[in-house]
């Protein structure tokens, strides 16, 4: 039965996260970008929400819900898309283990993500080459006795230097598969971040896997076969939720400014060229959100979600870029300088919308 009704719990989570975003995350977003680092205090604040830890719990028991997570990621994304991905990246790792890990993998790993301090981990999906696509991985895992030997380089791994584990997506036996690799495994090298256009505080970095020996027990699902597409789908939904949030953040920032700024005798917002852009921002934020919820609902109810996840990601990516673009334009020169967050959001929108695998919902 078609319904957009949020449960009482979802309403509480939504308003709590919105307040957290306003009071804690938004005020520090510029500093994190400038420092190109999320400091321990900021990570501790994220951890204190308990959201990442909840992903380690039992989905059947209601400990985690893709729809609820989509709502959360929109709220956090509205304040700072960078920290939203910092959370969502680790969520993606934990969810993959909780969803698809063997009993041994769950028992061995999930406990790492329920402790007192922030623990990062990431799905290592993207690779450092132009034209990279999730349908083809250059990273390979070759059988060697009971083990796998993983070779390749992964790119744009969020918080790479802080990760305890990577879930490395690689070609194995002719198909994409995933391998759990501790950061201190022999042959793993984490490169220095090179700096990036956007999401700078994530310290996006390359991670090299030089003949890393991975026991078969660390193949995701231990040979029962893993569903890489589900990890990709979940990431696309997660990213689209953050993009919806980012877009809403832009709109909420543009509205008061354009009402105050007087040009040729009238506020900017009274000019149709500006007002219509604002209307379009609202239209697209709404449309993004409902498409995103629908994809999250398909994930939650275990329906085939690949198509809707792709569409939510495609739509949000295109519209968020346009909204950030129009938002910056509305501020004119003020949008181009760092006194306002428009230039930051503009960079983040482009960066976010081309990521794959860097979030979980």
């Amino acid at each position: 039965m078609i319904s957009f009704e949020l449960s009482e719990e979802q309403q509480i989570v939504r308003s709590t996260m919105a307040e957290f975003g306003r009071s804690v995350l938004a005020p520090q977003a510029r500093r994190l970008d400038t420092d190109s680092r999320i400091d321990d205090g900021a990570l501790a604040a994220l951890w204190s929400t308990g959201i990442i830890q909840a992903q380690a719990g039992d989905e059947e028991a209601g400990s985690r819900s893709p729809v609820t997570n989509a709502i959360i990621l929109e709220e956090i994304g509205a304040a700072d898309a960078t920290v939203a991905i910092a959370m969502a990246s680790t969520m993606g790792f934990v969810q993959a283990i909780a969803d698809q890990g063997s009993a041994g993998q769950r028992a061995g790993l999930l406990g790492h993500f329920t402790g007192a301090t922030f623990q990062a981990a990431a799905v290592a999906m993207m690779e450092p080459r132009f034209g990279f696509d999730v349908s083809k991985f250059a990273t390979v895992a070759a059988r060697s006795g009971d083990d796998f030997i993983v070779r390749g380089t992964k790119a744009m791994v969020p918080l790479a230097s802080r990760c305890s584990h990577f879930l490395v997506v690689a070609e194995a036996d002719g198909a994409a598969d995933a391998f759990i690799v501790p950061r201190d495994a022999a042959g793993v090298t984490i490169a220095q971040p090179k700096g990036a256009l956007g999401l700078r505080a994530l310290e996006l970095a390359e991670v090299g896997f030089d003949h890393v020996k991975v026991p078969a027990s660390m193949r995701l699902g231990e040979g029962n076969g893993s569903d890489i597409q589900r990890i990709i789908d979940s990431a696309r939904v997660g990213i689209s939720a953050v993009l919806a949030g980012l877009s809403r953040g832009v709109m909420d920032y543009v509205i008061p400014y354009t009402k105050e700024r007087v040009v040729h005798g009238a506020p900017l917002a009274q000019k149709q060229a500006v007002a219509f852009n604002i209307a379009d921002m609202h239209i697209d934020v709404e449309a993004m959100r409902w498409l995103n919820w629908r994809a999250a609902w398909e994930l939650e109810t275990r329906l085939p979600a690949t198509k809707t996840a792709q569409l939510a990601y495609t739509y949000a990516g295109a519209q968020a870029m346009r909204i950030a673009d129009d938002g910056l334009q509305a501020f004119g020169g003020h949008g181009f300088v760092k006194a306002h967050p428009l230039e930051l959001w503009y960079r983040n929108a482009r960066a976010l919308s081309v990521l794959e695998g860097a979030a979980g919902v």
Partner: protein, 387 residues
């Protein structure tokens, strides 16, 4: 709980609407060609569906099992391309609805047997009804009103008996002219019907209009209608306009997928954009537009279901659905024809018709610009500051 599943009743109703649409499709080309020239040729219920339950009746019967009456109605509309209406039963006589809503007993007795359109638009007053020139002057000597003016783009006026007509009264002490509403029938001296408009698309949706030249009507012809309240039906109708247009765009997308599949291209939603060719990428983006618009229609209709159709609480969402639906069907139908290439220009297929039909969706029932003004006013806290 957030839920996007359809109930069994929703599914049955959608299937019924879809079947009706499929049955009608074989008449689509003929209606497109002939309706503006031989409008009176087909009336009543088409023999092909005479023995089948009407989807509209089924909706009434099954409403309790649906996600909500207005939600199911929109779901059905989203599979009902505006190709052919096989049931011309007078449900589109909206003026008759107004008479039933606002007429006195005497008025219903006098005009109730007639099928009446609604006449609002004028050549120089479309989205801006305050600009209308059609007027009524009271003649106390005869207790009659004298009507003058011109109305255009009146749906199905050619087949109806008249129209409930909105116009301006005489200026009051402050120079303000109030809106007034009259029953105008074709047999009144001075009413001159104009020929059907020849249109880009939706040609089976017949449009005409009329001139009023010193038309004398008795006082009983004046309807004490609340047009503001009638306008509130816009909130109900706007997402449905989007829904209907989305049905046409859906037909176009399905046709495009099928024809490209025959040519060897099947869209793969799993892979990323770097692995997609140009046509495949455009199709993915157009599917995204369609689904995005679907969500806004459902959102508006769910709110309407929760709040009641008369509520103004979902008016912004109704405008969002209309604005986005109107926009995306333009983009989708234009884009599909470009991908399909020259063969799809042929009248052998309906693709070119869907392209023409879709274009009206961003114009009627409030143009896209009007929706954006309404949305922006709500967001900015403006009224007439934004025009």
């Amino acid at each position: 709980m957030v839920d996007f599943s359809l109930t069994e009743a929703d599914r049955r109703l959608v299937a019924l609407a879809h079947r009706e649409n499929e049955i009608g499709r074989k008449y689509a080309r003929e209606r497109d060609r002939d309706s503006e020239n031989e409008p009176s040729r087909v009336r009543g219920i088409h023999p092909d569906v005479a023995d089948l339950e009407s989807p509209h009746d089924a909706l009434e019967r099954e409403k309790d099992g649906t996600s909500g009456l207005v939600i199911a109605e929109a779901l059905m509309d989203m599979v009902s391309a505006t190709d052919v209406n096989l049931r011309d039963t007078g449900e589109d006589a909206f003026g008759t609805w107004m008479l039933n809503d606002y007429g006195s007993k005497e008025q219903k007795a006098k005009y109730g047997h007639l099928r009446l359109a609604i006449a609002i638009t004028e050549p120089s007053a479309g989205s801006d009804p305050a600009n209308m020139r059609t007027n009524a002057r009271y003649d106390p000597v005869t207790d009659e009103y004298v009507l003058n003016g011109e109305k255009v783009f009146i749906s199905f006026f050619n087949k109806f008996d008249g129209a409930v007509t909105l116009m301006k009264g005489e200026p009051d002490g402050k120079g303000k002219t109030p809106f007034m509403t009259f029953m105008v029938t074709k047999d009144m001296p001075g009413v001159a019907e104009i020929p059907q408009f020849k249109k880009l698309g939706i040609r089976s949706h017949e449009l005409s209009g009329f001139h009023l030249q010193d038309v004398r009507v008795p006082a009983i012809a004046r309807l004490d209608a609340d047009f503001g309240k009638t306008m509130s039906k816009f909130n109900h109708n706007r997402p449905l306009v989007a829904a209907h247009a989305l049905a046409g765009a859906r037909s176009m997308l399905d046709f495009t997928h099928a024809k490209l599949a025959e040519a060897g291209l099947k869209v793969d939603y799993a892979k990323g954009r770097s692995a997609r060719g140009a046509n495949e990428d455009r199709l993915v983006r157009m599917e995204a537009l369609w689904e995005a618009a679907w969500g806004t229609v459902m959102r508006a209709k769910w709110l309407e279901h929760e709040m009641g159709s008369e509520s103004h609480g979902y008016r912004v969402e109704a405008s969002v659905a209309k604005a986005l639906g109107g926009k995306v069907v333009r983009q989708i139908t234009q884009g599909c024809l470009e991908i399909l290439g020259p063969e799809a220009l042929s009248e052998e297929y309906l693709a070119e018709k869907w392209f023409r039909d879709a274009r009206i969706a961003d114009i009627y029932e409030g143009a896209g610009e009007i929706q954006r003004i309404l949305i922006a006013r709500a967001l900015l806290g403006y009224k007439n500051e934004l025009n």
